[in-house]
């Protein structure tokens, strides 16, 4: 008898279906039991388990905590602030995605239904609104004796929103308003009970006097009121390309490099701080310590530093604005009095993101970031490192000096720089330039160490003649280059490895003679 026959097929099918039915029944019972167990644990009743991730961190400064009733406890204030920001976060999220998720957690029963109505209305009319608030200045007015009710006035909330209808951007609106808020403590959450939008109040001007070392006058950068021409270099330690503050951070290595730079008649270095590496919105203290060590060394060797922020970062959506603002605020306010810093470079080559990340988004993000940095550090200059001279005119009224990166044909350097200077009336810095010494199969033997030396020799004559501020790329050749920098292909990578004035073995290349003028 054949093994495969109708009878056996039926038998197998029968057995298999029995097993399948059993499996599904078991799964079903499991699900039911699982469902019946939800909410059974006491911790879930008190919402003690809600561990919050940093998703929304606009600037919050409590201007006043004195109130006629109960004294505000620090712990309660932290919880209140967290829940209040969450109430904004869920509201923003509701308006952006037309969903009611989370609203019930941060608005009381009577209040939440007002939000639901808007969500329904906007859903029906295909309206979505991306929102973020940038600043809150809450002022406590009342905290009840039993600690269950609080009233405060959130002064001058800056709301920034992008309005879409039928998926098409209608407009971008920035609005400032004050809000009177009443919140109740309900099963572990502070929930909004009443909200009232009010007119904004006049801003109180900060009376702190800046005391800068580096200033700008017409198209000159000044140091202690004397003209200062940046003769600089982009710097990564030899073995830590794109990872200055990583595991291999070494004070001695940097001190030696600073001696080399100083002896080569340079006065400025440019460094990079990576957003993720430094801990995003909440900065890792050990990274800050390393940055301080670095800056202190530079100060000791009398070198100025341009610190480039937000390297390897390209999320410009409103959702992440507040997080990036806290990142910048943390770094910039910590070092606002550091004498080694010449300028903050807001972002390296942001125009490369114009195409993929929407130019409007990128520029809006940059513009708000200039405000954040200026507010937190009035002492240092501010620039943006554009990747070419054409885009460098963007936001030129927001920065102290214009930086652009010159990788075009050497003969154009004077033309491009002079044109930029004329159009902006601000100092212009050629913040990156250079060619690789790599000549090999991947670039058809295009360059060589000699060609590199010739290039630098020639370009330095232009710089000297015009007294341009310059920063070359870069001090060292790198044995390793991360993929994010130039790309993953060898013809991209090999070029990038050989831009240095000093090769991997630590021997000066011929171009080193022309590192400065």
């Amino acid at each position: 008898m054949k093994l495969i026959n109708n009878r056996n097929i039926y038998k197998t099918a029968f057995a298999l279906s029995f097993i399948l039915i059993s499996i599904f029944t078991m799964l079903g019972i499991g699900r039911v039991l699982d469902y019946l167990n939800t909410g059974a644990s006491r911790t879930s009743m008190l919402h003690l388990e809600t561990e919050s991730e940093d998703v929304y961190l606009p600037k919050v400064s409590w201007t006043n905590l004195v109130n006629p009733a109960r004294e505000m406890e620090k712990n309660t204030l932290g919880k209140l602030e967290r829940d209040y920001l969450f109430s904004w976060y869920v509201k923003n999220n509701a308006l952006e995605h037309n969903t009611s998720k989370g609203i019930a957690d941060y608005y009381t029963q009577n209040t939440r239904h007002n939000l639901y109505q808007t969500v329904n209305y906007n859903k029906a009319h295909d309206i979505t609104i991306e929102n973020t608030t940038l600043k809150h200045f809450p002022d406590l007015e009342f905290y009840s004796e039993d600690g269950q009710l609080v009233v405060f006035k959130d002064r001058n909330v800056i709301e920034y929103q992008k309005i879409y209808q039928n998926k098409k951007l209608l407009s971008i609106v920035q609005d400032t308003a004050s809000y009177q808020v009443m919140m109740l403590l309900e099963d572990g959450f502070w929930r909004v009970r009443h909200l009232l939008k009010m007119d904004a109040e006049p801003f109180i001007k900060d009376s702190i006097q800046p005391h800068p070392i580096y200033t700008v006058s017409k198209n000159k950068i000044l140091k202690n009121n004397k003209p200062y021409t940046i003769k600089g270099i982009n710097y990564y330690p030899k073995n830590s390309a794109w990872d200055t503050f990583g595991e291999r951070f070494n004070k001695d290595t940097i001190a030696q490099d600073f001696d080399i730079i100083k002896k080569a008649n340079l006065n400025t270095v440019r460094i990079f701080i990576q957003y993720g590496d430094f801990g995003k919105a909440v900065i890792h203290p050990e990274k800050m310590q390393k940055l301080k060590t670095f800056l202190d060394l530079a100060q000791a060797k009398n070198l100025a530093v341009i610190v480039t922020l937000f390297d390897f970062y390209s999320d410009y959506t409103l959702e992440s604005w507040t997080l990036t603002h806290r990142h910048a605020e943390n770094i910039v306010s910590t070092f606002k009095d550091h004498k080694a810093i010449l300028a903050w470079d807001l972002k390296n080559e942001p125009n490369l993101d114009f195409e993929n990340r929407d130019k409007g988004n990128v520029l809006a993000w940059l513009e708000h970031m200039t405000t954040v940095i200026k507010e937190n550090d009035p002492n240092h200059l501010l620039t943006i490192g554009w990747s070419n001279s054409v885009e460098a005119t963007n936001l030129s009224d927001k920065v102290d000096f214009i930086s652009y990166h010159f990788y075009n044909d050497i003969t154009h350097v004077e033309y491009e720089t002079n044109k930029l200077m004329k159009s902006t009336q601000k100092p212009v810095v050629i913040e990156e330039f250079g060619i690789p010494s790599y000549g090999g199969i991947w670039n058809f033997w295009e360059s060589s160490i000699q060609k590199q030396a010739d290039y630098h020799k020639q370009i330095q004559t232009y710089f000297k003649k015009n007294d341009y501020s310059f920063m070359s790329w870069t001090l060292y050749d790198f044995p390793q280059v991360p993929d994010q920098v130039a790309g993953k292909w060898p013809w991209q990578k090999y070029r990038q490895k050989k831009f240095g004035f000093i090769d991997e073995k630590g021997i000066n290349k011929p171009a080193f003679k022309y590192i400065s003028n």
Binding site: N114, D146, V151, L170, M182, L195, K197
Partner: protein, 411 residues
Amino acid sequence: MIKKSLHIVFPILLVFLFAFAAAKINNQADSFILQSKQQRFIAGKPITLSFSSTSKTANPKLFLIHTYGKTVLDSQNNNGQITFKIPAMYCLKTGVLSWYLIQDETKITNGSFTILPNDNTVTKIENYLGPPSLLTGTDHFTMMVAIPTDKFDNPKQDGTEVLIKDQFLNDITVTQKTTKSFIAWKNIYSRTKSGKMLLSTECNNTDSKEFETEVKPSIGEDFTIDFSRNHSFADGNQITSLTTSIIKDRYGNLVGDGTLVTFQVVTNENVLLKTYASTINGVAIGQLLHPDHQDTFKVKAYITGIAQSKTISIPYLPLIKNFKYTFTEKNRRITVGPVRSFMKQLVPDGVKVELKIFRNEELLETKIVETNKGIATFILLAPFYPEKEYQFEITTLGITQKTDTKQYEVN
């Protein structure tokens, strides 16, 4: 041919050029002027914003920022008259409503108006009272917070009058408060008497429900204790009751029932004994077993951390002066008793009798037996006590008697 086509194309081109130029000029010249100048609206009333425009076709949009939401409105252009109807949900809620007029992705003009609570509707009042119970005294208080709103749950404007009322015994107080930042509030201070306090609020003839707060007695003051007992003999059987005076707080209110009182006893041998009792109607009654030997108990009572009494002394008299014992069955059975009490009655069953067995002044063993009908019996079995002679010490009810050296037969 070419000329002919030029003749045709050129006028068409001209027309197009003109049309576009006109359209362009027209576009630039589009101006919108807000016509509804009203700055204040009352919640619940419909609101329309109207603009006059030079364009009869333009359909700008209006972006609204309201307390509880943001949205975009489409316009109706009626011969240069552009109107926006504010959705009902936004007309109901108070606050500043900011608007931005948007055309072709640009903000043309913006402004705002205020919606005020509707005082013509029924007032609703929401109250929060806390803490829910108080202690007597002048520095404790409960806080009544009232939030009067209109029918649409909009908090009333600052300065709205609210009456906050409280009743305690014959004392009824009505205070007028005005709202500020949504709320009117008052601290209602406790009284020196304990009891129930009733509270309520009123605004625009709307009354709240009745709220209740309990004024509980404060912590007790120091008190005295006393004792009572059936007799003063240390019989190890009777119970001495320890009674506190009526414990009151400093305003004369009985402390709450169930206040725990600890009675601490120190005996003559400095042994510490404790007994506990909870108060009922201010009095706690502790119980203490009489000792089985003459002793003096020094008793002090505490409400831990709060109040205490003075120490009292309770003497216990010995129950017996001596007792009889006999050795029988070749000294192997020792019968103690009958032990007689203060009226010659047999002592209650269970009185402890202790027998210490010595040999050559060395303690071998201590046996304990309780009396039954006044008699306690010890049996010294030969296999366990093989020696020739033993001495004994017998103790009961605090009396110790030493026997002679007894001789035993050795097999």
